[in-house]
């Protein structure tokens, strides 16, 4: 019994330690840099902590406006963004676009959207491969 409790405590301690390691400051700055080339302004940032793999998907929603361009940027510990991607879903939760290109097996660092109708979008973040369960995403906009 004592052993079990000790094991549980150790497991909890490990999970706590792993979570505490998800510091996204550097990734958020990297994402913000990716807004600059075409003059996108910062809107929102999301910490993506997949809890060491125990969280399979992180979903956020946002009201996008008509006639506005948005850029969703992503960053994790890998210089090529490997493993981390976002799928954009419409108001009916139908996938619209993904930053992971299935054919090329490529993880894009950003998605650009030109919204033509105001409404709610869903951003579903996932980790496909690798063991980097910590990342960041920033949304920028321009008219």
């Amino acid at each position: 019994m004592k052993k079990r409790i000790l094991l549980l405590m150790l497991a909890w301690g490990f999970i706590y330690w792993a979570n505490a390691q998800c510091d996204v400051t550097e990734y958020t700055n990297k994402c913000a840099e990716r807004l600059k080339p075409q003059g996108y302004k910062y809107l929102k940032s999301y910490k993506l902590d997949f809890m060491n793999g125990s969280k399979k998907q992180i979903i956020y929603s946002y009201v996008f406006s008509n006639n506005t361009s948005y850029r969703i940027t992503l960053a994790n510990g890998d210089k090529d963004n490997k493993g981390l991607f976002v799928t954009l879903l419409d108001s009916e939760k139908k996938p619209v676009v993904s930053s992971y290109l299935e054919k090329e097996k490529k993880y894009m660092p950003a998605i650009d959207i030109k919204c033509s109708r105001t409404g709610i979008y869903y951003l579903a973040y996932e980790v496909k491969e690798g063991k980097d369960y910590c990342g960041s995403s920033v949304i920028g906009f321009k008219r």
Partner: protein, 282 residues
């Protein structure tokens, strides 16, 4: 070269996000993150996260070509009046929008005043430690890159909001969001009354969706306190102001939407928003 690099790295998509009935059921359809605070305030954090950042409106105001007018803003000296937590939360939202407005117009003197007002509200709410005021002040004074200023300010506000969520202070967060939204709508309607700018009119009309989201959040909490009930009633008045206003999306992508908002509708809404905002800052 940079442009080519970015075009090759990013995926450009034109998206239509329909405003269907299912959209109005957002919080029902998705995983609910409802938690209860000590005061029994039920917060739908997902809904709050979906709320548009008011900087989209202030940026549009700036781009409308209407001259900067600091008489529209809540006086920074008013900070002394806000002692109760709910007042500080509402006016934290108000001042952060005013700060964005001054920043976008590169009005350094005013920006620093509003930065100080925002700091005082944040200190009162015990969230000032998550906002790097000194760094923002330095960037403002040195008139550095505008985007860096917007990023640093925005990131500070995002961190503050995330901490409020972590600490389960949903009521404070909700009031901050409501205060900021009302202020941005107030600025937009005031400017729209002076000049007929189609993009701004459309943005104002689009806010009908946002007031519906706010009402959804407050509906479940109106009995929590008299302050929340008062804010709920005010939001209902704004929703009433939107009764005859609507936006019809264009059938063709890239075409402007049809905004159904007469001059009278705008004037009525402007007056209601002015009254609500006046109660918030008083």
């Amino acid at each position: 070269m940079k442009k080519i690099f970015w075009l090759s790295l990013s995926v450009l998509i034109v998206v239509s996000c329909s405003q269907s009935d299912s959209e109005k059921k957002t919080s029902k359809d998705t995983i609910q993150k409802q938690t209860q605070t000590k005061t029994e305030f039920k917060t739908d954090y997902e809904l709050l996260n979906a709320m548009p950042n008011p900087i989209e409106i202030t940026d549009l105001i700036k781009n409308s070509g209407i001259e900067y007018d600091n008489s529209l803003l809540n006086k920074s000296e008013n900070v002394e009046k806000y002692n109760a937590e709910y007042q500080m939360a509402l006016n934290m939202g108000v001042y952060s929008v005013d700060l964005g407005y001054t920043n976008l117009h590169a009005k350094t003197q005013d920006a620093i005043k509003y930065l100080d007002a925002t700091r005082k509200m944040a200190e009162g709410l015990k969230v000032a430690q998550f906002f790097d005021f000194e760094k923002i002040k330095k960037i403002t004074q040195e008139s550095k890159d505008m985007n860096e200023l917007i990023f640093t300010t925005g990131l500070g506000l995002t961190t503050m909001r995330q901490k409020l969520e972590e600490e389960k202070r949903g009521e404070v967060l909700t009031l901050m969001v409501v205060g900021g939204w009302v202020e941005s709508l107030y600025l937009a309607t005031q400017v729209a009354e002076k000049a007929n700018k189609p993009a701004l009119n459309e943005k104002i009309a689009d806010q009908k969706l946002v007031v519906e989201l706010i009402l959804k959040e407050l509906e479940a909490n109106k009995s929590v306190s008299k302050h929340i009930e008062a804010i709920y009633n005010d939001m209902q008045k704004i929703a009433e102001g939107y009764k005859n206003i609507s936006v019809e999306a264009s059938a063709k992508e890239g075409q402007p939407a049809k905004v159904n908002m007469s001059k009278e509708d705008l004037s009525k809404l402007t007056q209601i928003v002015k009254e609500v905002r006046s109660r918030i800052i008083s």
